[in-house]
């Protein structure tokens, strides 16, 4: 049972890869960038999913995959032209297939009406071809141990081709056949090389599982073969097995069929059935995947010169991935990777400590020991980079979910949208990737719903009816920058301002620059949609997006040009394991202030600092009064207020956009620090976000700027007065 669920798990993992390949392939075809093999790769992806789903009796999934596959096959054979309309349907079918896979994985049920609509659409496109298989699909549930029957009746009505001859072959392997290492599948595949074959399997002798002899042979195969090679060639196929099986080869009396349309349809239905009862189609239950590959791939079957479809399951997968040009990868437990990263972090710290000791011991910088240590340092840095790279993932995994989102939102809003992605290979740490999907989803929804105009409005503005949303990623100075740009109307500034005033977010007479106006949309409680729409207005505003990006140590900004569109730019750290910080000293303690929060540092003059009721103080920075927070007192390191003139002020901005000046004793410098959790072995500490380990091996605390500012504001009533002053 455990082994089975493990196999199932693997199947779902592979499904994900196949689905990604399917979508990528369809998009490539849509964009006209398809390579000759793309359509085959797409077909293979659906085919593999169908096959695997059959093995796990996922009926709904098999049924839909089958209809989809049939339509894809026609696309592959050229019966259907890859028109934009067709590809739209296919992309939607791919979405549904993904939903079905997800549903199967979580044991849920997808709305049948939805799949029926698409099945009908696909069938309509395919000229009703898929209806040939209805018998097969309908039988699926009760199929398992019944003999497989296929209607051959209409074969006779097909006019005979002169050279082709038709054979009825009955082939019943005995256990010895398998004992000698022969394989039914190979024999059938060999037959398939000769011409079009139709295989049916009589499973009536198959005993109950409990009585099944794993080395026994219970299956009885009937093969209808149409070939121009003659009986000799057919007998040759059985050359090595004829003593170990019951074999009867009969030439059908002149009623030979040509490898035409109906045979192909028949093949497909057999294929469907073979896939639908896979475990039992093979006498040896070991070969779980075998039936999938044993059945000839539709379309490829009649071609005698076509390579045998997928010699081994493994090879088939190999081909599929090779087709997409994916590099070789291994699956590794994330915990192991994290442990490795931890260890390398310790190595770096240890190496730094060692260097310090060597200097303390009085070795000259040019001495052999010092030189050896320098080399060690370079090596450890290199190892650290490599290890960090293991956790790095291309943003592709997030980006490739977006085309689907764009299709859905475009469908809901009635807008025409083209998504252009760029820089998909840009890599960033897995933790960042995992937390990127939600904000990105929201931003793209927003770009389509609020950014782009309706097609008529676009045409009226002299733009193409189809709007463009551009999603791009790039590395810039040690951070990853992701942009979501639309070519819509841009931010309607008068409307934004009016709304902000109506909601009491700004004063009615406030004078704001364009940039300040644009940034109003990030304020909590702001939503530009006049009515709450189904798409963007899910109770999540841009303020939430901004906050979630800031919680990743990132920043979000907007640039908008009226009539030309808006660009949202987020800049994120490459990893959450390290942080750029300013190392400061407060009351003898070393603290780290995250660089993302810092705007500037300054040397306060005594005249700029004003007492403000009780112990609160404010500092005038360029004529704006900013609350001054004495970090030493805020954290309880000392009771006495620090003399501002002898200290340094760090101007910070919280995630909520509030500015405060933090008073610290001295600034030691800037450095990248490795983030260590305090919660693991202790618990949450107010005002402290996490800890880190400095070069001397001591622990330093990372300041939680937001918490410190919030706490200070909570007991000081500075806010309303400041508003009046500012």
């Amino acid at each position: 049972m455990d082994a089975m669920s493990a196999i199932k798990q693997t199947f779902f993992q592979e499904c994900e890869e196949q689905l990604a390949e399917l979508e990528a392939g369809l998009l490539a075809i849509e964009a006209g960038e398809a390579e000759p093999d793309t359509v085959n790769a797409v077909f293979r992806a659906v085919h593999s999913i169908k096959g695997g789903a059959g093995a796990f009796s996922l009926a709904a999934l098999v049924q839909f995959a089958h209809v989809f596959e049939t339509a894809l096959d026609q696309l592959r054979s050229g019966t259907l032209a890859p028109t934009p309309e067709l590809l739209k349907v296919m992309l939607r079918a791919a979405d549904l297939l993904a939903d079905l896979v997800q549903a199967a994985r979580t044991d849920q049920v997808v709305d049948e009406g939805r799949s029926q609509v698409l099945i009908d659409e696909l069938n309509t496109i395919g000229g009703g071809l898929a209806t040939d298989d209805d018998g097969g699909d309908g039988d699926m549930d009760g199929f398992v141990f019944n003999p497989v029957t296929v209607g051959f009746d209409f074969l006779d009505s097909v006019p005979a081709a002169p050279a082709a001859q038709s054979f009825s072959i009955r082939f019943k392997p005995r256990p010895e056949l398998y004992a000698k290492g022969n394989e039914t599948a190979l024999v059938l595949r060999e037959l398939e090389r000769l011409g079009a074959i139709a295989v049916s399997c009589n499973t009536s002798e198959l005993p109950e599982l409990g009585e099944l002899d794993p080395e026994g042979a219970y299956l009885d195969w009937s093969v209808e073969l149409t070939t121009d090679k003659g009986e000799e060639a057919v007998r040759e196929v059985f050359e090595f097995v004829e003593w170990d099986c019951e074999l009867a080869i009969q030439a059908a009396g002149g009623a030979a069929a040509d490898a035409g349309f109906d045979v192909e349809a028949l093949l497909r239905s057999i294929q469907a059935e073979a896939a639908a009862e896979p475990v039992f189609a093979e006498p040896e239950p070991l070969a779980l995947r075998e039936p999938l590959t044993m059945a000839p791939a539709p379309g490829a079957a009649p071609a005698a010169d076509a390579p045998s479809p997928a010699a081994k399951p493994g090879q088939a997968r190999g081909e599929a991935t090779a087709g997409a040009g994916a590099p070789q990868t291994i699956r590794a437990d994330l915990e192991r990777v994290d442990r490795l990263i931890d260890l390398v972090g310790e190595l770096v710290i240890n190496q730094a400590m060692l260097s310090q000791r060597v200097i303390e011991a009085g070795h000259a910088p040019g001495s052999a020991v010092a030189i050896g240590l320098d080399e060690l340092e370079q090596l450890t840095r290199e190892i650290q980079d490599c290890v960090m790279a293991i956790r790095a993932q291309a943003v592709k995994s997030v980006f490739q979910r977006m085309p689907r989102l764009v299709r859905e939102v475009a469908g809901l809003t009635g807008k025409e949208v083209r998504l252009i992605t760029d820089g998909e290979a840009t890599e960033v740490d897995k933790t960042v990737i995992d937390r990127l999907t939600d904000p990105l989803t929201h931003m793209i929804r927003n770009a389509i719903d609020h950014g782009l105009e309706a097609p008529e409005a676009r045409l009226a503005a002299g733009k193409p009816a189809e709007g463009v949303v551009r999603l791009s990623a790039m590395h810039r100075s040690g951070r990853i920058v992701i942009e979501v740009a639309d070519d819509g109307a841009g931010i309607n500034r008068p409307k934004v301002k009016q709304l902000a005033i109506a909601k009491g977010l700004i004063a009615a007479d406030a004078v704001l620059s364009d940039e300040e106006t644009d940034n109003l949309i990030f304020l909590p409680g702001f939503s530009t949609a006049a009515e709450v729409s189904n798409i963007s207005g899910r109770g999540v505003g841009m303020d939430v997006v901004k906050r979630s990006i800031q919680s990743l140590g990132g920043r979000l900004s907007i640039a908008s040009r009226p009539g030309k569109g808006s660009t949202f730019t987020m800049s994120l750290p490459l990893t959450l394991a390290v942080l750029d910080g300013m190392v400061v000293t407060v009351a003898g303690q070393t603290l780290v202030v995250p660089l993302t929060a810092i705007i500037e540092t300054l040397q306060p003059k005594a005249a700029d600092v004003h007492g403000f009721g009780g112990s609160a103080r404010v500092i005038a920075i360029r004529d704006a009064f900013t609350p001054l927070i004495d970090i030493g007192r805020a954290l309880g390191f000392r009771a006495q207020a620090t003399d501002p003139a002898a200290a340094v002020a760090i101007l910070v901005e919280t995630e909520g956009g509030r500015r405060s000046a933090l008073l610290v004793d001295t600034i030691q410098g800037q450095r990248q620090v490795v983030i260590k959790s305090l919660e693991t072995n202790y618990g949450a500490v107010p005002g402290i976000a996490a800890a880190t380990i400095l070069g001397d091996g001591r622990v330093a605390l990372i300041l939680d700027v937001d918490a410190v500012v919030a706490e200070t504001h909570a007991d000081a009533t500075l806010e309303p007065v400041l508003k009046a002053a500012g």
Partner: protein
């Protein structure tokens, strides 16, 4: 030793001031010398701060203060016992580790009925060994209770 051997357990005995205590040896990961800890803001007085132990940030609990004695001024002669408490690893600052005891369960006497917080929160029993009294303590409550894990 013979018939009760399966109930034998090993304990690590240590000293805080004049008193002796012991904990189950299985919960002790390692013993190291005192290193200055980084002070945590707004922590109880018995939390000395945090230290770096091979890359992990671990809290140091001054066991003397935690048990209600006068906290010592730590010197290089003090030791830290790294102990597993639930899912966490905590450093316990004590004066010195004295020895390893191998005792059977029946040698552990019930806690004397003394009305002290220490007795009810930490002491699980007492041992009489060679005229010494050694209190067996449980470590479940050494760390302060945090909101999320308050149970």
């Amino acid at each position: 030793m013979t018939e009760t051997s399966k109930h034998t357990r090993e304990l690590i005995a240590f000293r805080i001031g004049e008193q002796e205590f012991c904990v189950d040896i299985m919960s002790v990961r390692e013993i190291r010398g005192w290193t200055p800890a980084t002070v945590l803001p707004q922590a109880p007085a018995y939390v000395r701060g945090v230290i770096n132990l091979r890359g992990a940030v671990l809290p140091i609990v001054d066991l003397a203060a935690r048990l209600g004695f006068a906290p010592p001024e730590p010197t290089v002669r003090h030791v830290i016992m790294m102990a597993q408490v639930g899912h966490q690893v905590v450093g316990l600052l004590v004066d010195a580790v004295s020895d390893i005891l191998s005792v059977t369960d029946d040698a552990i006497q019930p806690t004397p009925d003394v009305a002290s917080d220490m007795a009810s929160s930490f002491v699980r029993g007492v041992l009489a060994i060679e005229g010494r009294m050694i209190s067996l303590i449980a470590l479940d409550n050494v760390l302060p209770t945090f909101e999320p894990i308050a149970a």
